[in-house]
Amino acid sequence: LAHSEDREEDFEAFVTKVEPGLRHAFRASYGVDRGRDATAEALAYAWEHWSRVCQLANPSGYLYRVGRSKTRVRRFQPFFERPVDRDIWVEPGLPEALASLPMRQRVAVFLVHGYDTPVKEVAAILGVREATVHTHLRRGLATLRKSLNVERTHLRNEGITELEDQKGQENA
């Protein structure tokens, strides 16, 4: 019984540590609800295979793949539904522009610029090198700028200071 309780405590601590990153990554990958499903599936898998998962060097990266695998049945359906009504004060084209990004670029942009996740952690989740994450970010942001017809986009990490709408400038 004591062993079982220890096991559950370890798993509680593990979930506390990895769940936010996984949920954010899956949300970026699949949208809110399917993302939550994938997170739950991945963590359920972790519990089922706890003896192995607890020894992994990069459990987040492994479970991210597990969650993607578990949602495979719906792979061929479009994903990342536009948030309804809640976000009318957000740039209207942003949800669609994000949805049109390749999945890894979207995950990188969401995690780094939306959730302030360190690039190193994003690299672990995606199972790629940090340089690759930077590439995803650069390409993703370039696509977003183009999709939103925005000349420059403020990003803390890039040191640019304001959002400038190209059309607005032209009108001015």
Binding site: D37, R68, D87, T153
Partner: protein, 385 residues
């Protein structure tokens, strides 16, 4: 008006501000422990692989239910009503709206476990046909493939078609080999049929699938990555009694080996019993302005446009939800005196929703629906003052 977020980071945060509740360790253990046939079981968790199939997974049912409700309701039956609200005079009454009364609100919150138990159970389905003779190799043709994952980094799924004149079934797992110039041939190990598939008769012209898994990460290499590994572009699929089927144009790497399933068909979607609550159309009567930190007092008019009454038994559960975080609530309807809504009749229900003091000023939206698949959703707006 809310302040417009000026930076992409701010816009992303605003977009992400509506988040779901985190998955807890208990929920993960519960999901792992439950079998799909025991949708309401909430007993102690246990380790080990659960039995799963393509039906609604219990621990996710709550989330899926809400998703279905909102998705269907927004597209089909959103109703707007922004009329001013006047609180009914006098003390609480239980008279029916037909007599000019309002059914008072009762504080009967509902647990997620009860919601799970209220989700409809699929109707029994006819067992699939599995009595056809074995397929001949020449009757199965390869019709194409799709990637599993980006850049085939999880493998591929290959489609086959029964070009024969009669139904057939292929129970054996075919041998699959991957080939590349100058490389050692890789032979796949065997995978089971996925939980959402089954081995059944393949009608003439019908299709089946086979997955070839080539994951880029595994226990032996959890970090994954396929840089520098040889790329295999050709698979040969051996079905007994004929020449191998060859699929070219692939981009597979095998740092974690390769495995393949038998030929399987997707399980048919579950069919659910009719839900009489879908006939009830809600409309909201909301106040114009409500202060943050106070109670939103509003009414729901439930109308029955059909020619038959709708019984409120078992007493329905409703879901109310606003664009303010943490205002997603589920309650039992007050069924104390009103047990049915007559044909072409209606009832008015008082509703209450506590608004957090942190609610942002400005236009706020509210959704209301009876809990169940495909029930209409009402939507309204008010100002947080």
């Amino acid at each position: 008006m809310p302040e417009l977020p000026e930076t992409l980071s701010d816009q992303l945060r605003a977009l992400l501000s509506y988040d779901t509740d985190p998955i807890t360790a208990a929920e993960a253990r519960s999901l792992a422990a439950r079998s799909s046939d025991d949708a309401t079981h909430l007993g102690p968790s246990r380790p080990g692989r659960p039995q799963r199939h393509a039906g609604i997974r219990p621990a996710l049912a709550w989330t899926l239910g809400i998703l279905v409700l909102i998705a269907l309701g927004i597209g089909v039956s959103v109703s707007f009503n922004r009329t001013s609200h006047a609180k009914p005079a006098g003390g609480p009454t239980t008279t029916s709206a037909a007599n000019g009364g309002v059914v008072p609100w009762v504080d009967r919150s509902v647990s997620s476990s009860l919601l799970t138990s209220l989700l409809p159970k699929p109707l029994p389905s006819t067992p699939p046909q599995t009595n056809a003779p074995a397929c001949l190799s020449q009757s199965l043709s390869l019709v194409g493939f799709n990637a599993l994952g980006l850049m085939q980094d999880d493998g591929i799924v290959i489609g086959f078609r029964n070009d024969g004149r009669a139904a057939c079934i292929e129970r054996a797992t075919p041998r699959v080999e991957a080939m590349a110039p100058g490389q050692v041939t890789v032979v796949a190990t065997t995978d089971p049929v996925p939980s959402y598939g089954e081995i059944v008769n393949i009608p003439p012209g019908g299709s089946v699938m086979m997955q070839v898994h080539a994951p880029v990460a595994c226990n032996a290499d959890p970090g994954g990555g396929n840089q520098g590994l040889p790329v295999y572009s050709t698979l040969a699929i051996y079905i007994p009694g004929g020449a191998p089927k060859v699929q070219d144009g692939l981009h597979l790497t095998f740092q974690c080996g390769m495995s393949n399933t038998p030929f399987w068909s997707g399980k048919p979607p579950p069919v659910y019993p009719a839900n009489p609550l879908v006939d009830l159309v809600p409309q909201l009567q909301l106040p114009t302005t409500v202060k943050a930190g106070s109670t939103l007092d509003y009414r729901v008019v439930l109308s029955n446009p059909e020619n038959r009454p709708v019984e409120l038994s078992p007493c329905p559960v409703y879901l109310e939800y606003s664009s303010i975080p943490r205002t997603k609530l589920t309650y039992r309807l007050n069924c104390g005196t009103v047990h049915a809504i007559p044909a072409h009749g209606r009832e008015v229900y008082q509703m209450e929703m506590a608004l957090p003091a942190s609610a942002s000023p400005g236009q706020t939206e509210v959704w209301w629906t009876l809990f169940g698949v495909s029930t209409p959703i009402a939507k309204g707006q008010f100002q947080v003052g």
